[in-house]
Symmetry: C2
Amino acid sequence: MRFREADATDWPKIWPFWHRIVAEGETYMLPDVGPDEAARYWMLPPPAKVYVLEEDGRVLASALLKPNQPAGGDHVANASFMVDPDQAGRGLGRRLAECVLTAAGEAGYLAMQFNAVVETNTHAVRLWKSLGFEVLATVPDAFRHPRHGLVGAHIMRRAL
Amino acid sequence: MRFREADATDWPKIWPFWHRIVAEGETYMLPDVGPDEAARYWMLPPPAKVYVLEEDGRVLASALLKPNQPAGGDHVANASFMVDPDQAGRGLGRRLAECVLTAAGEAGYLAMQFNAVVETNTHAVRLWKSLGFEVLATVPDAFRHPRHGLVGAHIMRRAL
């Protein structure tokens, strides 16, 4: 299995599971749009970087690493992670996150911040906590969950 | 004095003080770029709305109101405010904020959230608290202040 930076030619391999996760609507505050518009949310130009986990030519997961804010805030990273649901249970989320945390540190970021981890996404919350992230605050009613209604969103952070 | 929605023709009147505030670099995590690129940060298309406070044909202040997140998070508003420093002391920030809070409620937003209020910007922090915002968390070292070095940034929120 290989962790590497993605380029534009990877998007058609990322899009199917990216879309499946976004369309489900339970974890990400991203619009359920077509592949071209979706690429504008994920395949961002530098200083953002897009990564993939690849196995036998198949893209299993992807991550987006970017400054959480521009200018005087660009020493804090933000990252998003999408793992193909068909690959669940293999620990790919943790593996990808560990690679991206290392890459973020090497890129000179001093911390990583997540702005909206849906609190019902307990799998992700547990993963981030195990990787050293702490919940700075939980914004009440920040997300309209398709099954649970209004739920909170955690703001999480760790130093790098 | 008039509070109204802005259109593209207002940008040349907003830009001089917008640029002065951003170039100072003490309050906003926005890049100090030229007017055309800066317009892409401020004059956003719907669902964002841009407002101005105008007096005798002169634009004194401007605000940007937009969803803090897309999709399942777009019931929470985010707003940014720029008041011409030459107009300081007239209470225009408060006046503009009150108008924008009303507009946000009328637009159907359920809450307003600020993601990064620089903690050394005590004038703004005091204003937001007096308008009912609370500090959910202070992200440590989130902003490189040109005089103070790394300082924290408050995440603030109020219901509408």
